[in-house]
Amino acid sequence: MDDWELKPAKDLNLPPHERHKYILREAGLLEGILRTVWWSVIRMSLRVYHRIEVHGRENLPKTPPYIIVANHSSHLDALSIGSALPLSFGNKTFPLAAGDLFFENPAAAAFSAWALNALPVWRRRAGRQCLADLRQRLLEEQCIYILFPEGTRSRTGQMAAFREGLGMFVAETDVPVVPCLIEGAHAAWPPHARVPRPKKIRLYVDEPCQFRDATNNRKGWKRVAQTVEEAVRRLSVVHGCEILPPKSAKNAES
């Protein structure tokens, strides 16, 4: 826990919709309670409805900051990862979500902020500043990001190449990146389905990687993205998952 600071909330005096979209948004007691309730319900439903299994939980670092990275083919992905983390980390865990999908509409933005604790990443107008703010928050506030470096949900369930943006958060830092593989989420709730189906989901957690020696430039970011992508692909091979195409294939829509 940080030392005491007589410092107003960073989002003080922002109107609700602006506040929900604000990257440096700070949660209060009510949001914390609602989020705990939300995550408890999600955990329960994932256990009962999807019989979720988490393998390699011991690989998760004991304390933030860290980034969890995984393949992305379903809205259940972030929920599956979030439910594998301790409930006490609820206010410190931020799934990074597509701004144009989760934050354009005020109601969706309120849900994304209050329930998911998501932070927006604007795909078309992201800009370096947005990513720089996210990197600063990760380092200063000791939080956890859930990130899907493919940039979008795969429509076929097969993983696309990881984008360099991931590297911008962790290059030249000691922040661990935890590669994960999610199996079954696409079958349980594919992008075209309106409601989830009761299919089994498995989450495999790999050992964390660190990138202190990766340079904080395009070359270093690329190396980070490739290394983590390799780790996820390796997990799929080890666990015999059929979600990955040959490395060159482009199956995901952008």
Partner: protein, 340 residues
């Protein structure tokens, strides 16, 4: 069974205008709102640039007046609910402005304290109400000890105690006041006088104000505004109070004037308390809940110190407020109670 007289006080909206002053004040507020609204509507149509802000503020005033008047008229239970929401809202804004919101443990205790105060008021269990103040303060002081973080201990505990005292306990006295059968005119008189006090201070300050009152704390306030409001509000309270407390021990010119001075002085001091907090943390407005006004605390700042003073002064002169009403309405029904 809940006594009939308690049900009538808690939910008996048919008694809303039993006291003539309640009707007068309600009509006065509605008349002022309607007249000013009509004038601003026309002015805003003619010159939106100049009167747009005033029109926005008026629209917010309609909501504020409704949120105050309707619960008070509907019954004590609704009044207590509204006061509890006001307490929670004000405390939330205070914590976000000072950074105390990052201390979740303290906020949990303050919020629980506010709910216990609300229950004690609803139940008409005054011993519980008065016990909740010091006991919550005690809990706040020990709450973060187990986290083994001595650094910042004084600041977080002091802010927690200040937040609970001002926005939980002090505002909670309005809930406790609702246990008196005559609570409607008393609360309306108090809130009406506090609002009018702001208007008087502004008008006297604009007309006669030269010497600043406390320029570093609140540059807009003047000595003339302070004294003018003190005089005018005391007069209004004395006149209206004569009808609210007709035939009781308070219905004496000395008591009524003193009550007016108390409301006016503490109203303006409450304003200065919130100004000091805002200046200390370096924010202009403390929230955005009320368009054109800012946060709840920017609007209700003058009310913060008044309720305990009015409650205790009236009970010192009149005897226990609500003394003729049933006590422990709900808790006495439970088997485990150990007596009143």
């Amino acid at each position: 069974m809940i006594p009939e007289v308690a049900v009538e006080r808690l939910f008996g909206f048919r008694h809303a205008f039993d006291a003539p002053v309640t009707l007068w004040l309600t009509v006065a507020i509605l008349t002022v709102m309607t007249a000013s609204g009509a004038a601003l509507f026309v002015l805003n149509r003619r010159n939106a640039e100049q009167f747009g802000e005033a029109w926005l503020r008026w629209k917010s005033w309609v909501w504020i007046a409704g949120c105050i008047l309707i619960p008070i008229l509907l019954g004590a239970a609704w009044t207590i609910a509204a006061v509890t929401l006001l307490s929670l809202g004000c405390y939330r804004e205070f914590t976000r402005a000072t950074g105390l919101f990052r201390e979740k443990t303290i906020s949990v205790i303050v919020v629980l304290g506010i709910f216990v105060l609300a229950f004690a008021s609803l139940d008409h269990w005054e011993r519980l109400f008065f016990a909740t103040g010091p006991l919550t303060v005690g809990l706040i002081t020990i709450a973060t000890i187990p986290s083994d973080r001595p650094k910042g201990y004084i600041q977080r505990v002091a802010l927690g105690v200040l937040g609970f005292s001002l926005f939980g306990f002090s505002l909670g006295y309005m809930s406790n006041l609702a246990n008196d059968v005559n609570y409607r005119p008393i609360l309306l008189l108090m809130i009406f006088a506090v609002s009018l006090n702001d208007v008087f201070a502004y008008c006297f300050g604009k007309a006669l104000g030269r010497r600043k009152l406390l320029p570093a704390t609140s540059p807009g306030k003047t000595m003339a505004g302070f004294l003018g409001a003190l005089f005018s509000t005391s007069l209004v309270v004395a006149v209206l109070g004569h009808f609210v407390f007709a035939g009781s021990a308070v219905d004496h010119i000395g008591h009524l004037i003193f009550l007016g001075v108390l409301i006016s002085a503490l109203g303006q001091l409450g304003d200065l308390v919130i100004s000091s907090i805002k200046r200390d943390v370096g924010v202009k407005d403390i929230g955005v809940v009320i368009p054109g006004h800012g946060g709840l605390l920017d609007r209700f700042d003058s009310l913060v110190l008044v309720p305990p003073a009015v409650f205790h002064y009236l009970s010192l002169v009149l005897g226990p407020l609500g003394g003729d009403q049933p006590v422990r309405i709900f808790s006495s029904m439970a088997q485990w109670t150990i007596g009143n």
